[in-house]
C-alpha cells in the first residue's frame, strides 16, 4: 500500500522488541521533534504516543516461534502534519480495534488498563493500522503546525 503523501526530513530508528529500548525511542522522538521545530508540549505528545505504541507492540505482537524481532520507526513531515510510523513483523495487532474504554466516575470503579491507546487517541490527530506482507504498520499523524517548511 503506497502512500501518495509527500513527506520530507524523514528520520528512522530500528528497535529490538525489548522494553529497555524505549529510552532510545524517547531520545529519537525528542531529537526529531526538535528538528521539526515542535514546542515542548508537542514534543512531549510525540514522545508519549511513540512510547505507548511501541510498548504495546512489544507486549502484544510477539510472533509464535519467533522471539525477538524489530520495530522500525520513522518520523517525517507531510504537508500539514507530522507522520510517525511504526512497522514490525510480529503477530497481527491492531490497536485501533481496542475498544474505547468509558471514563471512570470514581476511583473505586476505575479500571486499570487500556490507558496507552486512550492517550494516543487523544494526543494524535489520527491513528491508522494496516497489515501487509506479514507486517503491522501503525501510522500516527499529528496536526502540528511548524515554522519550518
Amino acid at each position: 500500500m503506497s502512500q501518495a503523501v509527500k513527506t520530507s526530513g524523514e528520520r528512522r530508528l530500528v528497535l529490538q522488541k525489548d522494553l529497555t529500548e524505549l529510552r532510545r525511542l524517547a531520545a529519537f522522538a525528542r531529537d526529531a521533534g526538535r528538528a521539526q521545530g515542535l514546542d515542548d508540549a508537542q514534543i512531549f505528545a510525540l514522545e508519549l504516543c511513540l512510547e505507548e505504541a511501541a510498548a504495546n507492540i512489544i507486549k502484544h505482537s510477539r510472533a509464535p516461534g519467533r522471539p525477538g524481532g524489530n520495530i522500525s520507526v520513522s518520523i517525517s513531515r507531510a504537508a500539514r502534519c507530522l507522520v510517525a510510523r511504526l512497522e514490525d513483523d510480529g503477530a497481527p495487532f491492531d490497536p485501533t480495534r481496542v475498544p474505547v474504554s468509558p471514563v471512570a466516575e470514581s476511583l473505586e470503579n476505575a479500571r486499570v488498563g487500556g490507558l496507552g491507546i486512550h492517550l494516543i487517541r487523544r494526543l494524535a490527530t489520527s491513528m491508522r493500522y494496516e497489515r501487509a506482507k506479514d507486517c503491522n504498520r501503525l501510522t500516527l499523524e499529528f496536526g502540528f503546525e511548524s515554522d519550518k517548511t
Partner: protein, 112 residues
C-alpha cells in the same frame, strides 16, 4: 527512577519521585510504591521532579490510590503546571485522584 520516602508529622507519608515515570521508570517503582500504598493511610506523591509520564506510570499511581482508599485512607498527587499534569488530565485522572499544584495544599489535604 529515584524514590524518596519521608514520614512527616500527622502520619503523612510524602513520596518524592525523580526522573522519568515512563514504562521502565514505572516498572522500577511499582513494587516499592505498592508496599507504601498497602501500609499507609495518608500519602502525598510528589511529581514535581518527574519530567515524563506514560500510561504505565499512571497505572501505578492509580493502583496505589485505589489501595490506599480501600483502607479508608487518602492519596493525593502534588504536580505543578506542565506536561505531566496535562497527561494526567488527558488520562482522566483529575476526577479520580486529587491533583494539587501546591505542595502545602497537598499535604493539608491528607493530614487528618
Amino acid at each position: 527512577m529515584d524514590m524518596i520516602v519521608e514520614e512527616l508529622e500527622g502520619g503523612v507519608t510524602n513520596v518524592t519521585l525523580n526522573g522519568r515515570l515512563d514504562t521502565l521508570g514505572a516498572e522500577s517503582v511499582d513494587l516499592p510504591l505498592s508496599v507504601i500504598a498497602g501500609a499507609k493511610r495518608a500519602v502525598v506523591i510528589d511529581l514535581s521532579n518527574v519530567d515524563f509520564l506514560a500510561s504505565l506510570g499512571i497505572r501505578v499511581l492509580l493502583t496505589s490510590a485505589k489501595s490506599v482508599q480501600r483502607k479508608g485512607g487518602k492519596l493525593v498527587i502534588f504536580v505543578p503546571e506542565g506536561n505531566v499534569l496535562a497527561v494526567l488530565k488527558t488520562a482522566g485522572m483529575e476526577t479520580l485522584i486529587p491533583l494539587f499544584q501546591d505542595r502545602i495544599a497537598a499535604l493539608a489535604a491528607v493530614a487528618a
